[in-house]
Subunit: 387 residues, 2 copies
């Protein structure tokens, strides 16, 4: 097992009706900025629950944070926060709203001239101050409600950057599974795939003597496979949605990644597909991961076989056959949720995507994977398989 | 799934050589009280590592905290803390030293006349202040290094009480698996059994639609079963000890208990066996749990069958036979580690133990179990089976 430092101070308030507790978790004299997305929280009742819970509190609002939150949008919120001297951020929504609000949290008190450098030059890492934030999660997927990561896009430059800071763990996150009941099933599907791939990136690497972490990763994968059909049911099933929500949070709260090697190549490639072609985050992962596993099947062989045995209960004598089969199983699982697994399904030319992303990674000197052996030409080879 | 509130702010610094980092995790101007047990840390090098890491810091010492830490011993440390105005506690040892230090942390700033009432009248729950504490763990077992629980004995009254407070999560815990290399194998055995039973108390109850928590519990049980033989090997195996250490922490850091019913009857009964007969904590659990599972086999049937299938991979058509078999498997696992599973193995008369504990629980009005249906006479019946 590798050495690690694990610290996750986010308080999780989980369950039916818990939005009503909101006010007591926010400092008494805080001036609050409520951030949200396209307005679905207004039609599904979550906005009303939040406002009711915050009556008598000083609350400003900033709506319109888009999926794959955009730098230019968020800088408007940063101006508002500075002008109105907001001192607590409350993100109500999914991973995009929370990620965007994390950027507001570091950019508002930042004195540098170019807040974009917080991302592009990774200056976020060294920051000493950020506004505190809390969240009310409405879309389980990214785990942002219980981690210190964020991903921000800048459409004007066709760029997308991830950043992290110890300051960005939400103080609290309220997870009420009933807030997911009004989600389009496509977003449930996206969340299931996103959470699944988060686990895979931390699990299918190489053995590191981390017996518990491997089994904890398998626990989440098995849970997602088990509850997916029920999580997609109409009308929504409370326990399945609750397990989905809690599994997605646990998929990326640093616990299963503690002390083990991690990959994240699928994410890095996927981010470029979102930047260039506008694919939803989960969609971008599903068109990359099966081919990446195939391409790196030798280096990942031991963990792929374990994954086949422990998660999918496959019993095949020939290891190569078992590996091929479990990669097919993984793609079939995504397909069973209605999630395409090829670039061509979105009308994207794999050769063009391969060329564009290879060029960008070459220019940036990007090298990916748990062995740092996925070079830009390997990325191109992986993308050309997605057809 | 039940609603829950999960918050575990303890920072874990895990791995080889991490004691060297100690100083940077303690506030700069703190006056530190280093607490420890019978002195094994002086012979195994841990004391020297701690002192080296704290050079130039102001450090007082309080040694001699016994297994099942005693109120009268700890009150001496409380006097020292008050007199010397100590403002940071550093527990170096196993669960007993950490639990004892948690009591010091709440008793030192407590203004009430009878600190015993913090335990006997459960006043610890409502406290508003406690000294901060950090730990260097040397014996994986109780999970005290990453939770807010503590158990204190008072031999002069033959009593033992558990308490908890939100203030008692250690600020940090350093877990270096190499500190376990000098442990007597009996203590490794005790730690494995303790961690195993911690999970069982939160898992073998009744189904509550908590798909992930059930699998997370199974992940820990399977890990303990898998690594136990290697964790008992001579010379010590680093990865097995590391997995043992991390599994024991995860067995009782509130994660697997979030949103599910919990039992804790085995612990409550075991505490009395320690109070009356001086059994080690883990020993007391191993002579109770198999019989408790047998006695409550109807109410726990669904989870016992799941436990048989998922953890032990048993395949038996008759459910009753499967339940009997998995209880035997559990006892056999304890025995395989050299852990007795009967009161008589310790020369304790089961009938006498049953009578004494039934009387005490009757006097206290104690009712146990996830259904609150284990009455004093049931406890007696369970104990009489342990022969």
């Amino acid at each position: 097992m590798n050495n690690f430092n694990f610290h996750n101070p986010t308080r999780i308030i989980f369950g039916k009706g818990t939005i009503a507790e909101l006010s007591k978790h926010i400092p008494k004299k805080a001036k609050i900025l409520l951030t949200y997305g396209g307005g679905s929280i207004k039609s599904n009742g979550v906005y009303d629950q939040v406002i009711k819970a915050l009556k008598k509190r000083e609350v400003l609002e900033f709506g319109g944070i888009e999926a794959n939150p955009d730098y230019d949008t968020l800088m408007k919120a940063v101006k508002l926060v500075r002008k109105k001297k907001v001192d607590f951020l409350l993100a109500v929504g999914g991973g995009s709203v929370i990620d965007g609000t994390k950027f507001i949290a570091i950019a508002a008190p930042y004195n540098g001239k170019k807040p974009w450098n917080l991302l592009a030059k990774n200056k976020a890492r060294d920051l000493k101050t950020a506004l505190p934030l809390g969240t009310v999660l409405t879309l389980p997927a990214t785990g942002s409600e219980m981690n210190n990561n964020s991903v921000i896009s800048r459409r004007s430059k066709e760029e997308k950057f991830a950043f992290a800071s110890e300051l960005l763990y939400p103080v609290f996150s309220i997870l009420d599974p009933e807030t997911t009941f009004s989600l389009p099933l496509k977003q449930v599907r996206n969340g299931l795939v996103d959470a699944f791939v988060h686990v895979m990136e931390q699990y299918v690497t190489y053995p590191a003597g981390a017996a518990l972490q491997d089994r904890q990763a398998e626990a989440i994968l098995q849970t997602l496979i088990e509850i997916s059909p029920k999580a997609m049911q109409i009308p929504p099933n409370y326990d399945a949605r609750a397990s989905f929500m809690w599994a997605a949070t646990n998929a990326l709260n640093r616990l299963i990644g503690a002390g083990v090697p991690t990959d994240w190549a699928t994410h890095a490639i996927g981010h470029e597909l979102t930047a260039f072609y506008g694919l939803a985050h989960a969609e971008s992962l599903a068109v990359v991961m099966p081919y990446l596993l195939w391409y790196k099947r030798d280096k990942k062989a031991e963990k792929l076989i374990r994954y086949a045995q422990h998660v999918w209960k496959l019993r095949v004598n020939d290891p190569e056959e078992m590996i091929s089969l479990v990669i097919e199983k993984t793609a079939a699982f995504f397909l069973s949720l209605g999630m395409p697994t090829t670039l061509t399904a979105y009308g994207i030319d794999p050769d063009e995507a391969a060329q564009r992303i290879q060029e960008r990674f070459t220019a940036r000197g990007t090298v990916l994977g748990e062995h740092a052996d996925i070079l830009p030409e390997d990325v191109a080879a992986i993308l050309r398989m997605s057809r």
